[in-house]
Amino acid sequence: MDIIISNSSGKPIYEQIYSQIKNQIISGKLQEGEMLPSIRSLAKDLRISVITTKRAYEELEKDGYIYTVASKGCYVSKKNPEIIREEILKQIEVHMRKICELAPACNLSEDEIIEIFRIIQQED
């Protein structure tokens, strides 16, 4: 499992761990039922705080990506299509917002944007 912690990004460390593990679960790099490293060993290997790592795992569990088996460890949950759909929708929204920001700068109309979208679809 790859986790890269950046100290200069200004993004909280627990959020960095949360989003990197989440992305690997969504992309299928981490499979359902796979065991995650223990909170303590992950923290010590990354040389970060145990509390911060625990917080990331708690968030992942709250959002249904992982589950905990008492005194055994944390495992990747069964993929929930609802959650994944929700996640992808969120990402699409982010890109759409970007379009909304950029389009007025060159007076692009709604129809023209749809036209570009159709052209891109046909390319594929």
């Binding site: 990004s9 200004g10 303590r40 060993s41 010590k44 040389r47 970060i48 705080s49 145990v50 509390i51």
Partner: protein, 282 residues
């Protein structure tokens, strides 16, 4: 459970008072104890070990009151390293093993010699010919070789070069892989503490300025740089410390108390400590 619990501890010297301090170190974590020279770090550590009498307050170490008679035998579970390692001049690393075997009930020869090897320490060289780094490493090897549950280190990394310091921090990091192990690490090298600590306790002139989870601190605080006119528009309760120059104001602020539209900069533990210590103009 807390490995160390200090409650309302007071100790008066002429010219210095350790003023009613309280903090606790949760088991399984590393706490950085930071403060300027003379802030009261070593006094606190001596009080934790019950090496000097206190004026008032309560201290529990590994769940036990440190003034109870059982505390003497509990010292087997505590590894302590002070800022200077004291061994007689002619003694060698091999001699230290012989002495400690008879001092600590749980002394492990194999652990000790593993550390000696890991630290590249000579076995038959006299202690007086050791460099400062070697002395410190020897003291740390001793502290780790009697199976302690709690490590207390007073300025153990100061005066050492960055490579050795990093090696030593790694050892503390590995030590706490066991969730029953805890570390209290005092230092004025804030960057070292930022690297490995779970909690930070900041003591300034005998008073505790803050005791917090390290990553939360870094999330809560930020640095802001503004022209004077714009600075005055910031709510004053957000400002925790400021530096005014002819060209503008640099301030330590609480992120939650200002509008997100301000451009803020990521802060370091060192910034937080420096700004809070100065604390002028609040």
């Amino acid at each position: 459970m807390n490995a160390i619990e200090v409650k309302n501890l007071t100790k008066k010297y002429s010219g210095f008072t350790l003023d009613n301090i309280s903090f606790s170190l949760p088991t399984g974590s590393i706490m950085g104890f930071v403060g300027e020279n003379g802030a009261g770090k070593s006094t606190t550590i001596k009080l934790i070990m019950n090496a000097i009498p206190r004026d008032s307050g309560e201290i529990k170490v590994l769940g036990l009151d440190n003034q109870s008679p059982e505390f003497t035998s509990l010292k087997n579970d505590i590894g302590i390293v002070l800022d200077e390692a004291y061994f007689p001049e002619v003694i060698t690393a091999a001699n230290v093993n012989t002495i400690m075997k008879h001092t600590y009930s749980k002394w492990s020869e194999s652990t000790y010699f593993n550390y000696i090897k890991k630290f590249d320490l000579p076995i038959n060289k006299a202690f007086k010919d050791f460099s400062r780094g070697m002395k410190m490493k020897l003291a740390i090897a001793v502290a780790l070789s009697h199976d302690p549950k709690l490590l207390i280190l007073d300025e153990a990394t100061s005066g050492l070069d960055p490579m050795v310091r990093d090696e030593i921090l790694d050892i503390f990091n590995d030590f706490t892989r066991d969730e029953g192990h805890s570390v209290l690490l005092s230092s004025h090298i804030v960057s070292d503490l930022e690297k490995i600590c779970d909690y930070i306790t900041f003591i300034h002139r005998g008073k505790i300025m803050l005791c917090e989870e390290k990553d939360r601190l870094l999330e809560e605080y930020a640095i802001i740089k503004l022209p004077k006119s714009a600075f005055d528009e910031i709510p004053q309760e957000a400002v925790k410390g400021k530096k005014i120059t002819n060209y503008g104001v640099e301030a330590l602020i609480l992120k939650s108390k200002i509008s997100p539209s301000f451009e803020i900069q990521h802060t370091t533990l060192e910034d937080i400590v420096l700004f809070l210590a100065k604390g002028d103009g609040r």
